[in-house]
């Protein structure tokens, strides 16, 4: 007879939650979203696995434009969104999926050059927002390559951010996935 050990405290990791919250508190006001300059180096351990260095830097910036750091919580860059997307693509068995990210990023730079005469990462913060605004214009009915890419980019950014530590704890301040030892939370049906 072997025991199946379940440690009710294990899933909670209060320490981790505190760390994330502390990070959230330390970060605000430094980067107030689209008007602030990005940090010099994105969060990445070692070289990207799938993207080239410049591609990764562009993706990192785009994800942080979509979900930026604000007074409430850190954004996509701190949450490591680009690192996660890079990892998933590096092991993707679908070459078309991989190719669509490469061509999508290229389309962003092409649009930036069309609008401002330079690639996105060389553009000013306001110009970057202008590029993304153009890409997002066709969100519900995308037509241009950049508009199609926006859907894909935003979908993956949303998925990666809100499943990250930052997204779940610092931004959403999710209360669940805990052992409720007494009364269940909520209201009685009376």
């Amino acid at each position: 007879m072997s025991d199946h050990r379940v440690d009710p405290q294990e899933g909670l990791s209060r320490r981790e939650m505190l760390e994330v919250t502390a990070a959230a508190l330390a970060t605000p006001l430094l980067h107030l979203g689209p008007t602030a300059a990005p940090p010099a180096t994105p969060i990445l351990q070692g070289a990207p696995k799938f993207f080239t260095g410049p591609e990764f830097a562009l993706l990192d910036e785009l994800s942080d434009l979509i979900i930026p750091t604000d007074a409430h919580s850190p954004g996509a860059r701190v949450a490591g969104v680009a690192t996660y997307i890079d990892f998933r693509l590096s092991e993707s068995p679908e070459p078309e999926q991989q190719a669509s990210w490469r061509s999508g990023l290229a389309a962003v730079d092409a649009l930036s050059k069309e609008l401002h005469g330079k690639p996105l990462l060389e553009a000013t913060p306001d110009q970057r927002v202008a590029v993304l605004t153009r890409m997002a214009a066709g969100e519900h009915d995308p037509k241009t390559p950049a508009e199609h890419f926006f859907q894909q980019l935003k979908g993956w950014t949303v998925r990666a951010y809100y499943t990250s530590k930052v997204g779940i704890h610092a931004d959403e301040q999710y209360k669940g996935n805990v052992y409720q030892r007494g009364e269940f939370a909520g209201y009685d049906a009376t």
């Binding site: 199946h4 050990r5 379940v6 009710p8 899933g11 604000d70 092991e91 530590k165 909520g186």
Partner: protein, 597 residues
């Protein structure tokens, strides 16, 4: 801290030289219940399960945070879950020609495919043909109960005597009074949580403490009361107070793990067949289990025409075996049980065992789903997060159509399942337009303010909806596969249209703004509630089984799963499957002892 015990590993080396009192095919809700009841009666039982025994706690990892999983819960590269479009665009077999190494049913796509990839079958090994059907199968000890959705409802005489009520179909050969004591036993033995509502069409169970409601759900409940309708906390087949007689199951701690995944509970507060039924049955000393054993024929004694055992192939070694028994009990799931009966052809039973009526595979029915509504509870926008999803489910709105009224467009009815409030993933992020700080704030402010619900409607039992054996196609073990001849009809379409209208009306009456409606019916099979392919009845010409799920043709053959149901009801079937199996197996044991089988 230790919450639950796990039993020792199973051995594949079981004694096949002896004749068992009974052999059971399948270890889900039906087969597990048969094992429990028969071993409790002292019978010597062999249980055959086609799948393996999984280290289920390691598979489920219920409390794992998304970010602690390298792919946030997704299965590794090479696994693919079928999408709605694949089911609607392609013709089965869906996995044929797929470039992916493994193809799972759509359930893998619910978020958390890595947690179910070894529970669900690989569609590539298990093809089927015919009309479109999203057939979800789990081959593992416990079957689909490993990822069961937990809604545990009783049927009533509105179902058992449906024909008497509205003239459609056939009455069951039992009434509520016959099955009520067995529902009570299932409640007590397995545990169920809920709130008494005193409804004739949804009888109350013997409830342990209920799950709570979220703010928006209370608002809707209060409003529905004025319409004469009911919103009740999810009646979950979950032990919320614990079960003193079962050391394999913990009480529920409201972790909510079951509800953010395709199902499953690694402390087994939610019912599953292995911990709820099979391990306790093993402790009687009367149960032998052989996993990886794919039954493909009920064997027949040529002299008596009675069943004498089951032929099976080992899924790993592909060697063939025979298990000998005095009684054969089939509980392989509605469609697999029909397949097994049809595969069991002999001179005595040329159309398949137990099929002199020609009804095996027919009268196939289930629940139709898809239509639903989403509402925004304005009072909740911008409110701080609360713990709303630490529970096995949100709410259930029981049937309200065609009870006292007569709808012009359709017979029978439907119920709604739904929930509202915060969850681990703010699904509204996908539908929130734009980007930047405003987008992020919009997502956060609205994350807990939505309430959604979807209908589950009764699909009418019809002889012309059926499965048979494909003359050519075979599975990975060379066993002929099922071919579907099954489609929703006009009654289901009209009912689904009404779901949207009624859903909208109920939210609006509660002052909840309707922000989205789903109108399309999901592919046949989506509810995972298939029923009816070996129905009970008192006339052997039009039914396969009698009221004790005993074959009209072969008295030592019983089929104890959902295939025996005469109609689908709109209420989820698992609790009824277990109550019926309990009743039938008690009868079986009595007849066995009297030497009548």
């Amino acid at each position: 801290m230790t919450l639950v015990k796990t039993p020792p590993p199973l051995s594949q080396d079981v004694d096949l030289s002896k004749t068992y009192d009974a052999v059971i095919v399948g270890s889900g809700a039906a087969g597990g219940m048969a094992a429990h009841v028969l071993t409790e009666q002292g019978m010597d039982v062999l249980l055959l399960e086609a799948g393996k025994k999984l280290p289920i706690e390691q598979e489920l990892r219920s409390m794992q945070w998304p970010y602690d999983h390298p792919r946030r819960g997704d299965a590794p590269p090479g696994y693919h879950s079928l999408s709605f479009n694949e089911y609607t665009i392609r013709t089965p077999p869906y996995a044929k020609g797929s470039t992916f190494k493994h193809v799972m049913s759509y359930v893998g796509g619910w978020g958390g495919s890595d947690y179910v990839k070894n529970i669900l079958v690989d569609e590539k090994d298990h093809p089927y043909t015919g009309t479109k059907y999203a057939w979800v199968r789990a081959r593992a000890l416990g079957g689909k109960t490993n990822i069961w959705g937990r809604l545990a409802l009783r049927l009533s005489d509105y179902d058992f005597k449906g024909k008497t009520h509205d003239g459609y179909g056939d009455d069951w050969p039992i009434s509520y009074a016959d099955i009520e004591p067995y529902y009570d036993r299932v409640d007590r033995y397995l545990g169920i949580s809920g709130v008494k509502e005193n409804l004739p069409h949804l009888p109350d169970s013997l409830f342990q403490r209920p799950n709570k409601l979220s703010f928006g759900e209370v608002k809707l409940r209060e409003s529905l009361k004025k319409m004469g309708r009911v919103l009740t906390p999810y009646r979950a087949g979950v032990t919320t107070d614990g079960l003193k007689h079962n050391k394999y199951r913990s009480k529920c701690y409201g972790r909510g793990a079951c509800d953010r995944r395709p199902g499953g509970c690694d402390i087994h507060a939610a019912f599953d067949s292995p911990t709820g039924l099979i391990y306790p049955a093993m402790d009687t000393g009367h149960l032998t289990i052989r996993t990886n054993s794919i039954a493909h024929e009920v064997l027949v004694d040529p002299n008596s025409g009675k069943a004498r055992g089951v032929a099976f192939v080992d899924s790993g070694t592909r060697k063939s075996y025979e298990a000998k028994a005095k009684v054969v009990i089939v509980g392989a799931s509605t469609l697999e049980s029909a397949r097994l009966l049809l595969l069991s052809r002999s001179p005595q039973h040329p159309n398949g065992i137990g099929n002199s009526s020609g009804h095996v595979g027919h009268n196939f029915c289930e629940h139709v789903m898809g239509p639903g509504v989403t509402g925004l509870v304005k009072d909740l926008v911008g409110k701080p997060p609360t713990l709303d999803d630490g529970r096995p489910g949100g709410f259930y709105i029981p049937r309200f159509r065609n009870l006292k009224d007569r709808q012009p467009g359709f017979v029978r009815g439907y119920g709604f399942e739904g929930s509202g409030g915060f969850s681990i993933f703010p699904g509204n992020a996908f539908g929130t337009p734009g980007f930047g700080a405003q987008f992020k704030k919009d997502v956060r402010d609205h994350a807990g303010a939505f309430i959604g619900m979807g209908g589950f409607g009764e699909v009418l039992s019809r002889y012309e909806n059926y499965v048979d054996l494909d003359p050519d196609a075979k599975d990975a073990w060379g066993i002929p596969t099922l071919r579907f001849h099954y489609q929703f009809g006009d009654n289901e379409k009209k009912m689904c249209e009404d779901m949207v209208v009624a859903g909208r009306e109920m939210l609006e009456a509660a002052g909840i703004e309707v922000v989205g409606t789903d109108e399309k019916m999901l592919t046949e099979g989506w509810s995972i509630h298939e029923l009816g392919t070996a129905r009970m009845g008192s006339d052997p010409k039009t039914s396969v089984l009698n009221q004790f799920q005993q074959s009209h043709d072969v008295k030592n053959l019983f089929v104890v799963d959902g295939s025996s149901h005469v109609s689908a009801s709109c209420q989820n079937p698992t609790w009824t499957i277990m109550a019926l199996a309990w009743r039938s197996c008690e009868y079986l044991a009595g007849e066995f002892k009297k030497g009548n089988l």
